[in-house]
């Protein structure tokens, strides 16, 4: 968003900022409560752990948001994560240099995104269907490739990356920033970002205005696939194995994070900071529930309830804001 002092614009900007701040406030409040209520939450170990946990979903949520803004959905991101852990593990074990293995893995993510674009634009399939199909078949292909076994990655530097940190902040969280800043610029300060919104709002009007709608749709799914493959690499580094069943339900967590962060599933409404905060809210619930010895089954219930509450209030805000 831009920064100019015209009153009405300011008011609207403040509104969005306010929602962002409300979420951020909620996140901070949860942290303060947990810091007071549990002895271990505020420890450096736990905080870095929390940041590592949240980082993966945060990156997925940003990719997912591009797709949701166009009015689509990408159910395959969890499966892409699992599949790409296998790819990167196989490549590294085959003796490829790490940079080449990572690059190829990312290209696999891009290819899967292109396939989704192809299915939607060329075959006319609904996004839900094409990504659902990829979701199940990618896991199947991964299992076929590995015979159902996990592949241990025999590269210490690769695994060391996920444990390392810079300025006391884990590398994994730096990766979130690495993804978020270009994403923010892309979404709000380039014409392709505007095109994503316009396609989500009214694809026909966008088309008649000269927007290349098919290319915009390809772009959204490629970005989502790319983010997912990147998370696959990071996850493989973190757990040291390639396993196609990894990343189970990540797609739902990514969608939930995006929606908690104010993205509209009807398209044309969304941001980058929202999903980021949303994903850390979800991670904090999990982390806090563990520390408080809450039955892990309850975590799921709490997450569900939170989605309803936040999206309900967001809807109220939007209606009231007009």
């Amino acid at each position: 968003m831009s920064t100019e002092a015209i009153p009405a614009e300011k008011r609207k900007r403040n509104y969005n900022a306010l929602f962002g701040l409300t979420l951020l406030g909620l996140l901070l409040l949860m942290w303060i409560v947990l810091a007071v209520a549990t002895p271990s939450f505020a420890s450096a170990l736990n905080i870095t752990n929390l940041l590592r946990q949240g980082s993966l979903i945060a990156i997925l949520a940003v990719g997912q948001t591009f797709v949701i803004i166009t009015g689509g959905i990408d159910l395959s991101v969890g499966a892409i994560v699992g599949f790409t852990t296998v790819i990167v593990a196989l490549l590294i074990n085959a003796g490829w240099p790490i940079w080449a293995a990572v690059l190829i893995t990312l290209l696999v993510g891009v290819a899967i995104g292109l396939f989704h674009g192809f299915g939607i634009v060329r075959m006319g399939l609904p996004p839900f269907i094409i990504t659902l199909a990829t979701m199940t078949s990618l896991r199947g292909i991964g299992l076929l490739m590995t015979n159902g076994n996990s592949i241990s990655i025999n590269s210490d530097p690769f695994q060391a990356f996920s444990r390392g940190s810079l300025l006391g902040i884990p590398y994994l969280f730096w990766m979130v920033i690495l993804v978020a800043i270009p994403s923010y610029v892309f979404l709000h300060h380039t014409r392709w970002g505007r095109y994503l919104f316009s396609v989500g709002s009214n694809a026909e009007a966008a088309r008649l205005s000269g927007v290349n709608v098919p290319r915009t749709i390809y772009m959204a799914y490629v970005l989502s696939g790319l983010c997912a493959a990147f998370v696959g690499v990071l996850l493989a580094s973190r757990i040291g194995i390639g396993n196609p069943t990894q990343g189970d339900t990540y797609e739902l967590q990514a969608i939930a994070s995006s929606v908690i962060g104010g993205t509209s599933l009807f398209g044309a409404i969304g941001s980058v900071h929202g999903p980021l905060i949303g994903s850390f809210i979800l991670s904090t619930i999990n982390n806090g529930a563990n520390l408080l010895n809450v039955n892990t089954f309850w975590q799921r219930v709490i997450t569900g309830a939170l989605i309803i509450v936040i999206v309900y209030f967001d809807g109220l805000r939007r209606r009231g804001g007009k």
Binding site: S2, I6, E9, F197, N202, A206, V211
Partner: protein, 517 residues
């Protein structure tokens, strides 16, 4: 039932019926606006009473009060001599007041018959009598003279046919007072004729009809009396025989008709676009050219091939034969992208479906075609994005609080200005306007026509498609008439009579062809 005695008056002249519904000082205030100032008006039983006025003149408010959708602020409503509260839609329906809305509000996935009996299904032992309902519905439809099947799914019919079903539906419920709100906005001429037949027939049966329309020709064709609203005030009621279109327009907008059809003549320049024997789906062998500074009007019935022709010209559908020349050079236009790059701009017919991103800001909508230009390298220039949008809003006099207001929050006329205005900054050479003033009030129409002149003076050419003859007649420098996919006649500015043009568009009979280009 005081009105039954007068129900049998046939004929087109004034039904001398008693008063069926009388409004005394009917008034509606919303927070901040006085939507309807006290109105005194008596509707006669069995008359067709047209109500005209600009958008925002209070027509919708009046309908909402009459159908009980909203409560009135003050005033009295006398139905058949008795004061009535008329506070809920249910109450209005119980009295026999019904409305047919501009947009079809029926269930597209159900059958015609199911729609006609929605909420009043006949059933036996809890099971629907589907066959019986289809038979009954078919009987009603046939009785009305519509050639439509009752067993098909409503969504399979055209919008116009659906509108006829909606009208038929309103007639089967003991209706005594029926309101039509712009019913012909989406109808073809043939469908409109069927609807008019239905309306006259209802009148013959003693039903009182309120007919709301922007189309003056229809008002004069149908109505017995006409009331004019302006700024929430009833400025006059006239017998149709004693008024004229100029008088009504003047009442509506306080301006004369010449001031609406703002027409400036420019010396035509070089040809911007020329088609030679262009053929495609829905049209064949169309050769015409558009020069800088001229408006080329395409008149014809809906489905005559005009929209198909321009969408092929715009690269949305492939042409199957023929050539397109752009500024003298032959070009291939294979996509909207190609067309826009050449310098064409299309303002489509349906602004909600094709023209606007409703839940995005006005500014984004206005800038959508020019983001490439206002981006330096990769990034959008925030300052230029703002100045471009603000300039458009000022130039076009778009009534919006800011460029960041959502397009959906604007009135129809102002939305239409966005649809047209977003091409101005783009600097297109050829503008294609497909029914640019459908559902737009007279004041906004005048502004849109003025905009045409601005475009022409900047050296652009315009293709104007309209099903409203006076519009193309008063504005087009060259007028082409389409019928069944063919260009059947060509006229200069006001060189043929309305009747000739109409018969060329309609009939198989005498085919008078003007000077072909």
């Amino acid at each position: 039932m005081t009105s039954t005695a007068q129900q049998t008056h046939p004929g087109p002249d004034l039904a001398p019926g008693g008063t069926i519904l009388e409004l005394r000082g009917l008034e509606k205030k919303y927070p901040g606006t006085h939507a309807l100032k006290p109105v005194d008006l008596a509707f006669r039983a069995g008359e067709i009473h047209a109500i005209v006025g600009e958008n925002g003149a209070g027509k919708s408010t009046l309908i909402k009060l009459l159908t009980g959708v909203m409560p009135r602020t003050s005033g009295e409503v006398i139905w058949e001599g008795k004061p009535t509260a008329l506070a809920t839609p249910h109450e209005a329906m119980a009295l026999g007041i019904n409305a047919v809305h501009q947009e079809v509000v029926l269930c597209r996935h159900l059958t015609v018959a199911a729609n006609m009996f929605l909420g009043e299904e006949s059933s036996r032992f809890g099971l629907l009598q589907q066959r019986a309902m289809i038979r009954e519905a078919q009987k009603i439809i046939d009785g009305l003279g519509f050639d439509l099947p009752a067993h098909v799914v409503l969504g399979d019919l055209t919008i116009g046919q659906q509108q006829l079903i909606a009208a038929a539906r309103a007639t089967v419920r003991g209706t005594k007072f029926l309101i039509f709100d712009e019913p012909t906005a989406y109808l073809t001429r043939k469908e409109a004729d069927q609807l008019f037949k239905l309306i006259r027939r209802l009148k013959g049966e003693g039903v009182t009809i309120i007919y709301i329309s922007h189309r003056m020709e229809e008002v004069f064709e149908l109505a017995d009396r006409v009331s004019v609203l302006r700024d929430g005030t009833l400025v006059g009621t006239r017998d149709i025989a004693e008024t004229s279109e100029p008088e009504l327009v003047k009442l509506m907008i306080n301006r004369s008709i010449e001031q609406i059809y703002h027409k400036e003549h420019f010396t035509p320049g070089a040809a911007i676009v020329e088609t030679r024997a262009l053929t495609g789906k829905g049209f064949e062998n169309v050769s015409l050219s558009v020069r800088a500074g001229e408006i080329v009007g395409l008149y014809g019935l809906i489905g005559a091939g005009r929209s198909e022709f321009v969408t092929a010209l715009y690269g949305r559908h492939r042409k199957s034969a023929g050539q397109i020349f752009w500024q003298g050079k032959e070009v291939e236009v294979n996509s909207e992208h190609d067309a826009i790059r050449l310098g064409m701009a299309l303002a489509p017919e349906s602004r909600r479906d094709q023209g606007l991103c409703l839940n995005l800001p006005v500014g984004l909508n206005l800038n959508l075609p020019i983001y490439k230009r206002i981006s330096s390298n990769l990034l959008i220039s925030g300052a230029r994005e703002k100045t471009e949008a603000d300039r458009q809003i000022a130039d076009l006099r778009i009534k919006t609080p800011t460029r960041n207001a959502l397009a959906s929050s604007l009135s129809g006329g102002n939305q239409q200005k966005i649809v047209i205005g977003k091409w101005l900054a783009h600097g297109a050479k050829l503008f294609i306007f497909d029914e640019p003033t459908v559902g737009v009030d007279v004041g906004t129409k005048a502004e849109i026509y003025r905009l045409f002149s601005t475009l022409l003076s900047n050296g652009a050419g315009i293709i104007l498609i309209s099903s409203y003859l006076p519009e193309v007649y008063e504005l087009a420098d060259t007028l082409h008439v389409f019928r069944r996919g063919k260009l059947v006649a060509t006229h200069g500015f006001r060189t043929a009579s309305h009747e000739d043009i109409l018969s060329q568009a309609l009939a198989e009979k005498q085919e008078k062809t003007g000077g072909q280009t």
